[in-house]
Symmetry: D3
Subunit: 320 residues, 6 copies
């Protein structure tokens, strides 16, 4: 089946092909009429789509994150292309060419996971090294970590983004830590490994990245501490106790890494390592999101991006 990538769709085009249903909502007018508002995607992009006059059976007939065969027609509305769907049918993953839809770069994640393992296994602190092995031996954890995103819409908001952010931070810790003799570089690096792991449970990457119930009710900081508790329990199954104070330090690295109470850390960083971790997290996240704002900017003004509300400024984008 020969399909047109989303990025190549144009106005007034008849559509008869497969998309991924990245998001779907059943909307109701005050007048009682129902329609489905969808976001249909493939690897090349995403397009808003509407299907009018539907009922709940129709809405339930396909899954968020699943594949759908659509008939309809594109149109331009307010200067943006959208798709009016007249017919939609759920189809099985086996019937689609998954390469058309997958934005996740498995090779890159494999490479990063290998690098992450090297760093962790190179730590001098034995309990941390052994605890790392507990994490790395958990295949389900590793598989989910590889595909996790670091955010819904902020920095590293793509499948694999959490791993990328984590490894970049660990590498920075390896550079910065030794510059300050007062820092325990192993604790710092292990903190970078741990700090956002709760996002594996906080965010769902099926379809569009979105919060899970657990993510919204409990949040990745507390989840990360819970996950650490499970891994330490596994560690201790072979009879050796994990050092109690080190456990508090690891929990503290996770709990305080947002740096300030008003950014969602229930405790301020009170160790030199947690202070440093917060700043390195901040630097890597800001650089990623600002770079992305520059790369995706479409304004015609050669030197400056459009004003980006989430950043509160325009950015200089001209190549020197």
């Amino acid at each position: 089946m020969n399909r047109t990538p989303v990025a190549d769709l144009t106005d007034g085009q008849q559509i008869d092909q497969v998309f991924r249903a990245a998001d779907k909502q059943l909307r109701v007018n005050r007048q009682g009429g129902k329609y489905i508002l969808m976001r249909l995607s493939d690897k090349s992009g995403v397009i808003a789509a509407m299907m009018w006059n539907v009922d709940e059976t129709m809405f339930e007939s396909f899954q968020r994150g699943g594949y759908v065969h659509c008939h309809g027609r594109t149109q331009i509305h307010n200067g943006a292309l959208q798709l009016i769907v007249t017919d939609i049918e759920s189809i099985d993953e086996s019937e689609v060419d998954v390469d058309d839809f997958e934005r996740f770069d498995a090779n890159e994640s494999d490479r990063l996971m290998t690098r992450l393992g090297e760093i962790l296994r190179g730590l001098r602190n034995a309990p941390l090294r052994q605890l790392a092995e507990v994490y790395l031996a958990d295949e389900n954890f590793v598989a989910r970590f590889k595909k996790a995103a670091a955010a819904v819409s902020n920095h590293h908001a793509f499948p694999g983004g959490l791993l990328r952010h984590t490894v970049d931070m660990m590498e920075l810790c390896q550079l910065v830590g030794p510059r300050y003799p007062q820092l325990d570089a192993d604790l710092l690096t292990f903190g970078a490994f741990l700090h956002d792991l709760g996002k594996i449970e906080e965010l769902s990457c099926d379809g569009e990245i979105s919060y899970t119930d657990r993510g919204q009710l409990v949040g990745h900081i507390v989840i990360g501490v819970q996950m650490l508790g499970e891994k330490i329990a596994d560690f201790e199954k072979n009879g050796e106790a994990f050092p109690a104070e080190l456990r508090l330090h690891l929990e503290h690295m996770v709990v305080s890494h947002h740096g300030q109470i008003e950014f969602g850390s229930p405790k301020l960083p009170v160790m030199l390592e947690s202070v440093t971790l917060h700043h390195i997290d901040n630097l890597d996240a800001k650089l990623w999101s600002y770079t992305a704002a520059i790369q995706t900017d479409v304004s015609g003004d050669g030197n400056w991006t459009n004003y980006t509300p989430s950043i509160g400024r325009k950015l200089w984008k001209k190549q020197s």
Copy 2:
């Protein structure tokens, strides 16, 4: 041994009796001289004390929270009575009349714990009732809960204060919950029970109330979630799974009860019950601390307390 209660000490009095060492700090002048700054207490009050020209051996010779026999002399400094200690010796609890020193009201805590049990056992939600039994069956938990404080210096800052605050809130929940049919009153009441339990580990009540290492590094909100996890694990040991969604709701009640991110809750309340819990917590805590500010006020102005910085205002104290 006939001792003078702290509240009855006067200026220029020779001292030769036992105190409790509520707090002790080894201080160092820039000139290198060391002295001990202590707070010595009995049931009737607390007095600041200094011992000059000491060494670390002296400082280590008695414990914070332990009993000490002191020689010295009182004096007034800046209008406040203090004690200059010339000799100090640690003595065993067996040698003192504990009744002279204990502010904790065991009978009141027993009464409150009984009331707490009644309320929990009266819930209609079976898993919550059974989970309550797991908590109540843990004798160590019950014993520590009875003596725990709710704060170092804010509301309910005394041994037994956490239990008092918890039961008062649960009773309010029993009154307010049924007024709003949209609320799950059982979840609300159980949330009141759980919300501050992490303070049992966050605060130490030996000597003066103070933060534990775990309290400062991790904080009572995360500790409370960890404790809940242990109790649910106990619950599930007899083979029955605790309802997964209910667990998230309980965790959420703990995580969000400060009501706003900048007050230390890593997630905002997003359930009607967690919103209500936050407001009831706020009401009970504010009323307690404002009432205490009025009761302890020593200003001679009949209608108004002195300005209380932690409250940001003077309070009307005249009895109508």
Copy 3:
């Protein structure tokens, strides 16, 4: 005349029937063309309507809050139904079936007013009881109180909402007050009665709820104090002076009930009763608005409402 309720209107329908003109604005394009933007309502709902190419005579020919007979046609714009009016004519209330338009539940308001009277007459404080009688004897006040709203768009934003909010708070005060012996429960309950009465003058309920000039220039807190002054003057007409200190306390309850300066109270609560009143107000208002956000949510996601900007979060809406 057989009219279609607003809630049953559909796309492309010819309209020839009566509406209530809930709101009207004369808008001017930069190009100088004028049009009327209206909100037309009946009991079942409200619909946006436009009438193009009008002059000021046309705009002045009907009243905000009055009844109008309209010709026109419905259409869907940006997914929402709207009405393009081609002809509009003011008609007298005598010509319409008021039952089609009235959202106000007079029976409920009668019931609540009776309850309010019971509570006030049950107070033990004689001057407060007598002052209550002055309010209740003012028929104009009672009539306007019954129909008043508590807000334009926040909590209890409907005719009768102020009374509902007031009685709910007074009932809470009756429950909470006796739990804290340090509180004067009568003062607390009377404060709940008084706290928002200024909204009777601050808001107009003709047509859509909106601010009066006095409401915008002076505000309900100051108006409430002014109203209290008038009622105390009436009280004193029979020769007895109202207790001076009690008057200050009542004024303070009104002035401080927003709880913080930045929320519009020119003075902080400095009495235990005013502190309590603020928290009870906050609890009832928040529960109402959060419940309304859940009830009116139209998102198709079973567990969560859409993000509500005024609340700053999504709410859990699944029934447990």
Copy 4:
């Protein structure tokens, strides 16, 4: 009786003379001992004084703001002179030379009140002119206005300060108003007259300036609106109604003059005149308090004052 002015007292001096008791507090040590902390003043200054080992009868034997004959001795404590009182006796105003104690400049207040009357009688708006006459005909009002302070410790914190601030602002309004044709200069000037009149009731100038109960419970903004209501009632006693909209505007000028909600105005300024009034108030108050900070500064650094916490900065004080 030959007395030494407070400003001329030195260390180690025997005291046997009259002071004014500017402030008095009965303080209690935890040890139960009571002492009186006083501030004793005359025209030349104020000195802190303590009287040890007193009872409540002693404390009640003289009045705040009254005259007392004291025996005692001066001493330097922490580099400041204080007075240890051994005997104190209340004496009648008739027995003292009031000129030794009065900081209030009656001539200056008379001059300013005359100027204020000229400005008000020069307004072109007839109802405002007539309303001004109602205020000026109230002898009690005029007498209290002349002696009122504008603040406890901020700007214009002295008897007569309110009048000075008011007239200075009215003169500025006379200059600034005509520069902006869009302003109603009469409304602006009358707003300057009204804006702080509530302080006459908010602050007491007997002894040290302090808040009255009414001031703390209700605040000068609401009091000012209440006073305006009384004066308008007087105005209308001769049968003529005061213009309703103008009344709202005057109330609004008072209510909004702090300029922002968080500064204690329950409504924002929404008229050009109230916006202007706020800025002129701000300018005059800031200039007064900064000038006072420079004049009273005692630091030895020729160019800069000490850091002033209420202002958040050091000020340049060198004469150019």
Copy 5:
């Protein structure tokens, strides 16, 4: 060529005439299609315009701020008139009647510049008078000052607005300064002259007012200090040194005039003159922008403007 002014354009009109290209952006759909979004202006107003399916050559074929001959058709979209351009061609200024396009009032600017010169030459401080001559002798400076705007979208956002704001403030300084003997009125007035001169370089008035690169990277406060440095260097070329302390004072007036750190002043005002300058700036800017909000308001509600987000309120607009 007979052209229709922008203010007189109506729906469905064929267009074949010249506009000024006030702004232009090249926009890209996700689908890769490019279009130009323009704002086309003449003296009478501005209209949004779109040209679909363009390439970069087309976009580069005319300049922002230049003149263009357009073919196309007007249409109403969301109630606002816009222009769909089908053909666009850059034309030279010599071919247009500049009077049709120029909003700048040269006569008014000449008048204001004369007045500014009078004030500066009337100062008693000789070095300030001489420094003023250096500025006024710089023809390029004078020419650019006359046409500069004071803001992009806030107060005085039009060519000539900076001069208007500057002279209005200087006149206020001449009135207010002498009212306060503690002020150096010359320094105050010269500060008003200097305070916003950096905006001449910060903003570009070609086409729509917009920030220059230097404006966005460095900002008018720092630019103003740089400009002052250049002028003082010119001053000193004839061998006389400018007084060093006075230079610091002038720099301080520029640096601190926003009044608070969070408003962009890197230093707080610490001189009475800089405090006063800030308040006068604030008053003039606020009055201008509030007056403009009233004058341009198009709501049909006689007493109130629409809510203006930048001001955070509705304004009373009824003429008393």
Copy 6:
């Protein structure tokens, strides 16, 4: 002359030796008596000192930062040692052994300056390399840079601290820059060199570190831009223009390095390099001040420092 180092002084010691007058203030009691409050220092520490009953001649007889021979006696006041001076005499530097007083480590500053030169000369960007040579060729600049402090009381508050902070940041830039290919590492590193150079003029290191008039009136950010302007003028003296855009970028690095408006940067960072510079500055400054808080902490609690108000927390200080 055999002197006792400040760190070795004890209570009740007769003093007859030389100190450095780190700070001096002439204080005046309300009673008109004058005294000098001094801080006397040598390399080992600093001690507060008072001289009573002085006149201005005495105060002027020695210089802040100069050497003085003092007679007097030590005493303990409020637990801190102080010196009551009875006689003081200014003496010339030639008469003292400067080694007793100098905290500045000239060798370390030489080493750091060499390293700084290496880094700057290793940049690939030719104009930056040449501009660096202009700075390095200015001997006065180099000499003052070597001795400058980075703050009065915050991080790196010692002579030589600015150089230490600058070089540490440049080294971090050398490590971090290459990790992010989107960064211009040369611009980043040069920005680190420039960012705080204005502090050379903002702070005076004679005696105690303190602000200069220029520092308080203008501030180091603007001064840094002024210094850059002078160096670029020197650069251009040999006929070559410095690249205009690069100049704006350098100015922007200085102007924006505090990262947020409310921290004193008049412009936000809008380049990836300025964003990065801010984070690296923050990291190095925070680590330094937190490490210093740990090192200088004197509390006897083994795990935690005392609460440090400037940091808003206690810090974990136990060595793991």
